[in-house]
């Protein structure tokens, strides 16, 4: 290996703290109280069950169990009365549709079985999202089967029929219209052309009344919209094309997870990270909290959020000086070396670069526009004309609406897709304003903070039950079609509006007619509208080429400025977590249990702090089942949060804090809140800024239990787990420089690993299939889409916070996140660790997906006493649940620690009913019928999606042809938005996976123990600073 790095999974490992050293060799971190119990004589004698009773119970239990087993089950089989053509039991149907919730967007394929949607994958044909999804999108299928969904519309909190609801609300509307009152429609960003047209028609239908549509976004991008308006005269967001960008500079923008169309951006970004292309992009990230994007950067500079504008200004000046343009006034920053490097790289790739700004601050956004313009990126990597409509909210509009409501002028307020009581800043005081509205209505599919304070609740469809269309980007249209009949007595917003307008048509007809008038006329390939409609519905999207308009750019250096900020000790940034996003799916247990890619925390938000800051403040920096986090009382913008946990987060800039929005909402069937809601602390002054220095805190001296997966599954000091190199070594060097073979010491000298084997060769090579996988560490960004995809494909149970704390999470695939620091920075005689602290302040990160490696010489197989885990002749390590007796020997003997044990009957045990979806009949509808639901006491692990392999083989057999390469995809490989995971047949000489497995970057994790894994990893290649390409 070219780098001599030390990898560590957490601060405790880096420092080899006594607690860590003690616990690192223990697989089970929990404390077992057996000694206490057996040693306590009083307890033993006081127990009322004696040995004889025990034997009686045992005998009775065994007899009862055997008798129960003897009972013949009578199963009913109920066929359709009239079967439709495509509804075949046992055969999956796939529908192209669209996910768009105002925050995330993806074109998706929904798999349905027996009429139930059970799995969401990306639409591989989509030119926009390129078959990618993120964790939030592929988990959204679970929300459909949420116990808490509204079953019927409600007036004043009680269920009513739709006819009653309609007449009551229509009366309210008529009252307002006749008196010429004002009706307001408050929504999130609607990118559906048909819905927008309908809303406009509704407004136009009643010219006497004052009807207005107001848009706001939970997480605002208003500043960027306004900056573009100032620069180009168009209040809209541009679309980016990262796939051509050789140089990417992001100042605080988490474009891989939080920007509009982040799924599409991720796919484009990944295209620039494949070393086999002959080039890779160089990515600079200036940010305060470590974001998913920042963890993938080649150069990452931690700074305070308020310094972002200064960095942009200095970057502007640096470039302007080189390009001979006027400079702007810019304060000094301590990051000039990094800024110079970024400027140099940007200049070397003019027109092939992108600069992002993350702050919701007009001055910063304007500078980013100016820099991109100066670099000639518009027309190349940025297209201002192909506008992105996914975020349209301008913050001043909602502020004006609240003012209007407060004055009592609003007669009717209708809300859709928003939760303003929950996510508007406290200083707007939306709930008080809502009380002054004549009649309020919300379209919602489940209770929220807002539904509690409105009179009318129009129970809405889930998006998988609805018709809709979207125009995420100008000229690109997509359709959303229902994949299931409505489960409850619900109705989508558009149908309600049509009904209230007295229009005798449903939204489906309206949608079709709108497409007939608009999209159909923009193409000539299909002559009949029905043909056109059916092909669009089949494909899921329709694209027209738009004519580019001439740009009229009107920003100059004088219009740019850096806002003055008062320097304070602490600044706090509000960010979106990869799992929870803006919080619209906080009720989804799959997402709550998805470990954060950086902190590996589950089931909570928290205040993140730099580890050395935390140590200075006397807060705990190590967490586990026995190690709780400290709590603080924190005041942000005047809003007090009591007893919230503080987490030491490597990479967090010193003097900064960060906290995730979207939490503080009830989960599942309980009313218990998960985390705390910080939206009220965002301020509406000057737009909704995503950071503030109005923050102070004090320690409470109390502790809080956190559930982290961080220190579990340690790498046991083995350094052959992760391999990485830099671009120049990769490009100019030999394979041995960055990926040397393992040598085994023999008495005749060292021998390559492949030449030495104690075992007979497993006969999987060249006979039949040999399934294998290749994972590119260069492409993997650690987003976790594979984890949630695997959950839904393989019926992985949700275990809840308490069990995660005990390291009993059941995920079949996890993403190991290793921090690393240059070890050679530490002199050998330095025992003070002070220099290592520097590394801890800004470590580099490797994300490594880890699942069963399907070893050809599997250590687990040889220790199973009942042969419940065996090897197939197709190279799969098979796990047979009905044979497993739960000795857990296999898990003990697995060097990768990927086997998970079912400690409980998660489907039935009362501990899990509040959040495990498969504890009720509705939640069970999401289960994949082809995969066994595992019982208590058995081991489970990644099966390499054997059900998909079997299905793919069977399809090929039925069609009498060979299995095509790429035809069979595992759940993780199909979900991956960066195509980091390749699955295929290693016995197929033309397969992509074989080419990758034989490639120079290919290695296997802990290969030296001779497991001969069928999962290959590709060495991570960074474009690091010392080797600017």
């Amino acid at each position: 290996m070219s780098t001599n790095k030390k990898y560590w999974k957490g601060v405790e490992e880096l420092h080899d703290s006594p607690n860590f050293v003690e616990s690192k060799n223990k697989e089970f971190s929990e404390y077992l109280p057996a000694e206490d119990f057996l040693g306590d004589k009083g307890l033993l004698e006081g127990s009322k069950t004696n040995r004889r009773d025990f034997l009686k119970y045992l005998g009775f239990g065994v007899t009862a169990a055997s008798l129960a087993a003897c009972e013949t089950p009578v199963n009913k089989v109920i066929p359709h009365v009239v079967k439709t053509d495509k509804a075949n039991p046992g055969v999956a149907n796939y529908f192209a549709t669209t996910y768009s919730d105002g925050n995330d967007y993806a074109e998706i394929i929904v798999k349905t079985r027996e009429g139930r949607p059970i799995k969401i994958d990306g639409n591989k044909q989509s030119p926009l999202t390129k078959g990618g999804v993120n964790a939030r999108i592929n988990s959204s299928v679970l929300s459909l089967y949420d116990e808490k969904r509204y079953r019927a519309p409600q007036i004043d909190g009680s269920d009513v029929s739709w006819s009653k609801f309609d007449s009551a609300f229509k009366a309210e509307l008529e009252k307002a219209i006749t008196k010429g009152g004002s009706i307001r429609i408050l929504t999130n960003s609607i990118s559906s052309p048909s819905t927008l047209r309908l809303v406009k028609e509704f407004a136009d239908a009643y010219p006497d009344a004052d009807i207005k549509h107001v848009t706001y976004d939970s997480v605002s991008h208003g500043a960027a919209i306004e900056a573009n308006k100032e620069a180009f005269g168009k209040a809209q967001l541009p679309s980016y094309n990262l796939s051509k960008a050789h140089s990417i500079v992001s100042v605080g923008a988490d474009f891989l997870s939080s920007l509009p169309n982040s799924v599409g951006l991720t796919a484009q970004y990944a295209a620039t990270r494949k070393p086999e292309n002959g080039w890779i992009s160089k990515h600079f990230q200036f940010e305060s909290s470590m974001s998913l994007t920042g963890s993938n950067a080649d150069v990452r500079v931690p700074l305070k959020p308020s310094e972002q504008a200064a960095v942009l200004a200095n970057l502007y000046n640096e470039l302007a000086a080189q390009l001979g343009q006027p400079s702007m006034s810019a304060p000094k920053t301590p990051y000039s070396a990094k800024i110079k490097a970024a400027a140099k790289h940007l200049l070397a790739h003019k027109g092939e670069s992108i600069v992002f700004a993350g702050a919701n601050e007009i001055s910063a956004q304007k500078m980013a526009v100016a820099i991109n313009y100066m670099l000639g990126n518009y027309g190349n990597t940025i297209d201002i004309d192909r506008a992105v409509y996914l975020k349209q909210g301008v913050d001043s509009e909602v502020t004006a609406l609240v003012k209007e409501m407060n004055s009592g002028q609003v007669d009717v307020l209708m809300m859709a897709g928003v939760n303003p009581v929950y996510n508007l800043p406290n200083d707007l005081n939306f709930s008080d304003a809502l009380a002054k509205v004549g009649a309020s209505l919300v379209f919602a599919d489940r209770p929220s903070a807002t539904t509690k304070s409105v009179k009318y609740i129009a129970a809405s469809h889930h998006y998988l039950e609805s018709w809709n269309d979207q125009q995420p980007v100008k000229g690109h249209f997509s359709l959303a079609q229902p994949t299931i009949n409505p489960l409850f007595d619900t109705r989508q917003m558009q149908d309600c509006i049509l009904n209230w307008m007295g229009r005798n048509e449903d939204y489906y007809t309206y949608l079709r007619n709108n497409w007939k008038e608009t999209a159909f006329t923009q193409q000539s390939a299909k002559l009949l509208f029905d043909d056109f409609w059916n092909s669009c519905l089949h494909d899921g999207f329709f694209t027209v080429s738009t004519e580019g308009e001439a740009l009229s750019y009107s920003l100059d250096a004088t219009s740019l400025s850096v806002p003055k900020t008062e320097s304070k000790d602490w600044e706090i940034e509000f960010y979106q977590k990869v799992g929870i996003g803006d919080g619209s799916q906080a009720h989804n247990p799959w997402l709550q249990e998805l470990p954060d890619p950086i902190s590996k925390m589950t089931w909570d938000n928290y205040i993140a702090m730099n580890p050395s800051d935390a140590r200075e403040q006397g807060f705990a920096t190590e967490y586990g089942e026995q190690k709780d986090a400290d709590t603080i009382n924190i005041t942000i913008n005047g809003v007090v949060f009591e007893n919230v946990p503080v987490i030491a987060q490597p990479g967090q800039a010193k003097g900064t804090l960060s906290v995730a929005v979207g939490y503080g909402q009830p989960l599942g069937k309980s009313d218990e809140l998960v985390g705390f809601n910080v939206y009220p602390a965002t301020s509406s002054k000057g737009g909704r800024l995503n950071y503030t220095n109005q923050v102070s805190f004090e320690a409470t001296g109390e502790t809080y239990q956190v559930a982290t997966t961080q220190t579990h599954q340690t790498i046991m000091g083995r350094d052959s787990v992760v391999r990485e190199t830099d671009w120049s070594t990769y490009k100019n060097g030999d394979k041995d420089d960055y990926n040397p073979p393992h040598m085994i010491a023999m008495h005749e000298g060292p021998k390559p690993l492949g030449d030495v084997d104690l075992w007979a060769k497993h006969p999987v090579e060249s006979a039949g299939h040999h399934w294998g996988m290749s994972i590119d560490l260069s492409s993997c960004i650690g987003c976790g889409a594979c984890v949630t995809s695997c959950n839904s494909e393989n019926n992985v149970p949700v275990v809840g916070k308490d069990e995660v704390r005990r390291s009993r999470e059941m995920h079949w695939i996890r993403i190991d996140r290793y921090f690393s620091s240059e070890e050679d920075r530490v002199p050998e005689d330095d025992q003070s660790y002070t220099l290592m602290e520097v590394a801890e302040d800004n470590p580099s990160v490797v994300h490594q997906p880890m699942m069963c490696q399907h070893c050809n010489h599997a250590p687990c197989e040889t220790v199973c006493p009942v042969a419940a885990t065996t090897h197939s002749n197709e190279g799969i390590n098979q796990m047979t649940y009905n044979r497993c007796i739960g000795t857990r020997y296999c898990a003990n003997n697995c060097p990768y620690k990927v086997r998970r044990f079912n400690w409980f009957n998660y489907q039935a045990y009362s501990k899990f009913t509040d959040f495990n979806p498969s504890t009720d009949d509705l939640g069970r509808m999401v289960l994949n019928p082809d995969v066994t639901v595992r019982a208590r006491g058995v081991m489970e692990k990644c099966s390499l999606c054997v059900q998909r392999i079997q299905e793919g083989k069977l399809t090929a057999k039925k069609e009498g042809r060979k299995v095509m390469d790429g035809e069979i995809q595992t759940a993780c490989s199909s979900a991956c938005p960066t195509q980091a995971i390749t699955f295929g047949d290693l016995n197929d000489q033309n397969s992509k996976v074989l080419a990758e497995a034989r490639g120079d970057r290919s290695y296997r994790v802990i290969e030296e123990v001779g497991t001969q894994a069928n999962v290959y990893y590709q060495v991570k290649v960074r474009n690091t600073e010392s080797n600017i390409a």
Partner: protein
């Protein structure tokens, strides 16, 4: 015993009577068979042989109502007969809503055969009822005789016990005689219990051996019971409709996949939806055994009115009882076996075409599955999938795998765990 003989002669007499009947009417038997076949292929889609109306009128009595020559003309080409202005023809045409009967490609002899069949069909209906009544009695007799075996066994045991006690008495008397002869004291008579204890004391080896045998038998019985838990060979639940596979698949020769449509492409073979039944039962409104009663249940499910032939909105699905229940942790795919393996349905489901009530023919245990996978040759010919697999094999492995010239399912990994359990 006397009673038994008297009863069992009854069916014999019945059989004798039937034999005489058939031998007398054997000339018409051949014609009747042909007639039935012809009727089913040409007429049955629109006419019933009885009185009920389908598309056209029921044909009972048609042979007496019309002249034979007129019938020939009508059946061969009714249209030309109507057009020729034949009064009778026009009357029939008008009577049945001016629905034209299509011309049938049959000759006069065939028409005669059909008419004979229709005549026989209507005359035989009461006779058939009598026959079923007979069959019922036969069954009853069988039940009684099986009860008798138990009585006989119990009787035998009783006789043996009496014999033992008599022999013991005899032995005791003899021992008294012998003792008196020898001049010894008369021995006391031992109780049954004491005698048994004495015997056990003196014959320990035999007792031990018997003990071992008894324990082995109990263990065997226990094992057999345990291994059959969850095995329901012969499971034959009562169904909501008395559907007979024998009639549909056997007598009428309907292909299995006509109803179980998804067997060739889905994991489940599929229970036909009620609308599929209507492909035939829109016309066939009366069955040979239960008349209209059972078929009416299909109509009830579909809310179908057989008179007006209209469908109503109040449908309700038929709740069949599942016969073949696999545990949830087993993945079984019909299409793999039917479309790829080209296995006959009967291989697993038995001679379904002879079942009046659906039943489980095989044990459906894992041993049964594996055994078949070990023995069954893979149908490789003409399947590109297997050609590819075959091509990949290097020479040495080809030799190893193709030693016996055949490839069984298990040789391709067909008995590995994850082929069925995942």
């Amino acid at each position: 015993m006397k009673f038994l003989t008297a009863k069992s002669t009854l069916p014999f007499l019945g059989l004798l009577g039937m034999f005489t009947f058939f031998s007398l009417s054997s000339t018409s038997l051949k014609a009747q068979e042909d007639g039935e076949k012809l009727f089913k292929s040409y007429c049955a889609s629109c006419h019933s042989a009885g009185n009920n109306q389908l598309v056209g009128p029921g044909l009972a009595g048609v042979y007496d109502k019309y002249e034979r020559e007129w019938l020939y003309k009508w059946i061969k080409n009714s249209q030309s007969l109507i057009e020729s202005g034949d009064q009778q023809a026009v009357a029939v045409y008008e009577q049945y809503n001016k629905v034209l009967m299509p011309a049938q490609p049959v000759n006069n002899e065939q028409i005669d055969a059909i008419l004979t069949y229709i005549k026989d069909y209507n005359e035989k209906a009461p006779a058939a009822e009598a026959a079923t009544a007979d069959a019922g009695e036969v069954e009853q007799v069988e039940v009684e005789s099986s009860d008798n075996t138990t009585y006989i066994a119990l009787g035998l045991v009783l006789v043996l016990l009496i014999l033992i006690s008599v022999l013991r008495k005899v032995q005791y008397s003899l021992s008294i005689v012998e003792a008196k002869k020898r001049g010894e004291d008369v021995p006391e008579e031992k109780g049954m219990k004491d005698a048994l204890a004495h015997w056990v004391q003196t014959n320990k080896t035999i007792v031990a051996l018997m003990g071992i045998v008894v324990i082995a038998l109990i263990a065997k019985a226990g094992w057999d019971t345990a291994i059959n838990i969850g095995v329901y060979t012969g499971y034959e639940p009562e169904q909501p409709i008395k559907f007979s596979h024998k009639l549909h698949a056997g007598t009428n020769g309907i292909d299995c996949q006509y109803c179980h449509t998804s067997a060739s492409y889905s994991k489940s073979a599929g229970i036909p939806s009620a609308n599929l039944c209507m492909n035939c039962h829109a016309y066939i409104q009366e069955g040979p055994q239960y008349g209209k009663e059972e078929i009416a249940k299909i109509y009830a499910a579909l809310d179908f009115d057989p008179v007006t032939k209209t469908y109503g909105p109040n449908t309700k699905p038929i709740k069949w009882v599942k016969v073949h229940n696999l545990p949830d942790h087993v993945y079984f795919n019909h299409s793999q076996h039917v479309a790829v393996g080209k296995i006959n349905c009967q291989k697993c489901h038995g001679p379904v075409e002879t079942y009046t009530v659906g039943k489980q023919h095989e044990s459906l245990t894992m041993g049964w599955c594996i055994n078949c996978h070990r023995e069954t040759k893979v149908q490789m010919e003409g399947n590109g999938y297997y050609d590819e697999i075959h091509e990949r094999l290097p020479e040495n492995l080809k030799k190893q795998y193709l030693e016996d010239g055949t490839i069984t399912v298990s040789e391709l990994g067909g008995i590995e765990c994850a082929k069925c359990h995942y």
